[in-house]
């Protein structure tokens, strides 16, 4: 069994219409996901596909209407597991401004560890390590308000790292960032995954953040539309477009060329592969 597992997860939320009648809306509709420790997972889906509700289940911020969510052996529907789950599976949100609590960078990074009642000396050690892991050591005494969006998100990631989780879940962390900020955040995540073996679950609608994932889940209308390795996912261009997503530039170009009768293999996603194939065709 993997570190994150959901079994037939269903989540309904209730809203009211103009006549004050209760309406049930199914945000998640029978989700089965199994994530192994150390993987880099990307969940793709358009706005309203249920991907954010899914993320909140992994952190016990939401509880399933039916089905189960198990994080590192802990069932999220059991209330007494709540705090251990949040320590094991840290969460970073979309808006960098609305998740930092302290005025000073290092105080903010310490916040989660303080809440876990970690001894002071240990917090200091963890804060240093966490800041280093996202390359923010030079900014430790800076005011949070004067940082760029990408820097703020890296501080938020460091704050989770200081809680020493097994897994980190990010709900569209790059949606509000400029290209430089996006690159900084994705590079930090990749580093944490490769060097520290942290399991990363990245929720996004930016395709280019997905091409190096170990596994991709594409969500639409609360369900998994398709899942698998990037090469498999991006071979299904029509399906992705139907789900309101786009495909990486390389894949789209290959797809367009194939449509015109150029012989290229299925599911090209890396630049080098495409160039190699084009060179082969040209030399022929």
């Amino acid at each position: 069994m993997g570190i994150v597992q959901t079994l037939n997860l269903v989540y309904d939320y209730i809203t009211r219409d103009e006549y004050d009648n209760e309406i049930k809306i199914r945000a998640i509709d029978g989700l089965d996901i199994d994530v192994e420790k150390g993987q880099f997972i990307v969940v793709l889906g358009r706005n309203g596909s249920g991907k954010s509700s899914f993320a909140k289940h992994l952190n016990a911020l939401l509880r399933p209407t039916s089905g189960t969510v198990v994080i590192n052996g802990l069932d999220t529907s059991d209330k007494k597991n709540k705090w251990s789950i949040r320590q094991e599976a840290g969460m970073v949100f979309q808006n960098p401004d609305n998740q930092l609590v302290s005025q000073i960078v290092e105080d903010d990074v310490a916040f989660g560890a303080e809440n876990l009642a970690v001894p002071t000396d240990e917090i200091r050690y963890r804060v240093n390590k966490a800041l280093l892991s996202v390359n923010m050591t030079d900014y430790r005494m800076r005011a949070v308000n004067n940082l760029s969006g990408g820097q703020k998100q890296r501080v938020a990631i460091a704050g989770i790292m200081a809680m020493e989780p097994e897994c980190i879940i990010l709900d569209e962390p790059t949606a509000m960032l400029d290209p430089v900020g996006r690159r900084e955040v994705i590079e930090s995540l990749r580093k944490l995954n490769l060097e520290k073996g942290i399991t990363v679950i990245l929720i996004t609608h930016h395709m280019d953040e997905a091409i190096n994932a170990d596994n991709i889940f594409v969500m639409d209308k609360g369900k998994i539309l398709i899942s698998g390795k990037p090469s498999k996912i991006f071979a299904n261009i029509e399906l992705l477009k139907e789900a309101g997503l786009e495909v990486p530039v390389v894949t789209e170009l290959a797809y367009e060329l194939k449509k015109e009768g150029i012989e290229l293999p299925e599911g090209l996603i890396y630049e080098d592969e495409l160039i190699e194939e084009v060179v082969k065709l040209y030399k022929r």
Binding site: R46, N47, G48, Q94, S148, A175, M176, D178, P179, V180, H205, D208, G244, L245, E246, V249, V250, E252, L253, E256, L257, E260, G261, I262, E271, L274, I275, E276, V278, V279, L281, Y282
Partner: protein
Amino acid sequence: MVLELKNIQYKYNVGMSSEIEAIKDVNLVIKSGEFVGIIGHTGSGKSTLIQHFNGLLKPTGGEVLCDGEDIFDKKYDIRRHRCNVGMVFQYPEHQLFESSIIEDVCFGPLNKGLSKDDAYKAAKKALSLVGITEDLYEKSPFELSGGQKRRVAIAGVLAMDPEMLILDEPTAGLDPVGRDAIYKLLTELCAEKGIAVVVVSHSMEDMAKYAKRLIVMYRGTVLFDDVPNEVFKHRDELEKCGLTVPKISYIMDKIMQAGVPVRTDIINMEDAKEELIRVLTGFKNYGK
């Protein structure tokens, strides 16, 4: 309508130790019917620059002329000018405040001095342009989805019937479907109504695809001002400013370096496809 910026200079915190010159001697002319993209690294001065177009910021040097008249002249009606040059800020949905969508969209036209009936008509027209259907008019704007809210906010500006529309990252935070809807709308406004559209964006792909003219801001000055094809030829300079060129250009460049003689001034998918087909199959199959 012709909007002209003449030797614009803008300083923040004038006279203080923290004085910063955000805009240095910028000259620009923007005319009706143009679709202009503005790109630049965060802090390059692009957001400060566009706030001069409708007089939200008064330049510390130089002048802003609308059809030859100085908009900061005491006799000039600057509130009218602001209705003529519509401005859509980043995350414009944060400015919605009325209890119903239709009332919110009426806010601009009413400020412009229209009667209630005329304002309602203008609002209806703007909402239909952005694709908000009549059954939603009486709903609270806060009940809508993110993409819908954004379109209502844009309608709030369009309802003032501007001749020029300025948008600061209008697609930030939207998914591909929402983004395409916004650009489709802007392209139509520009082509069919002759509205000048000015878009600030971080996406080189979007700019390559939609802009007819591209302005590159760097440290408060205009570094390039040309058609996108020409601007993106300056790859090294753009990279030095913390910018990039569209991904497809990088790919074409690498293909060329790998020994396949393709053109490298290509900035969109269509052209890339045609060029590769041309090179790989020879002219005979071109266009098949």
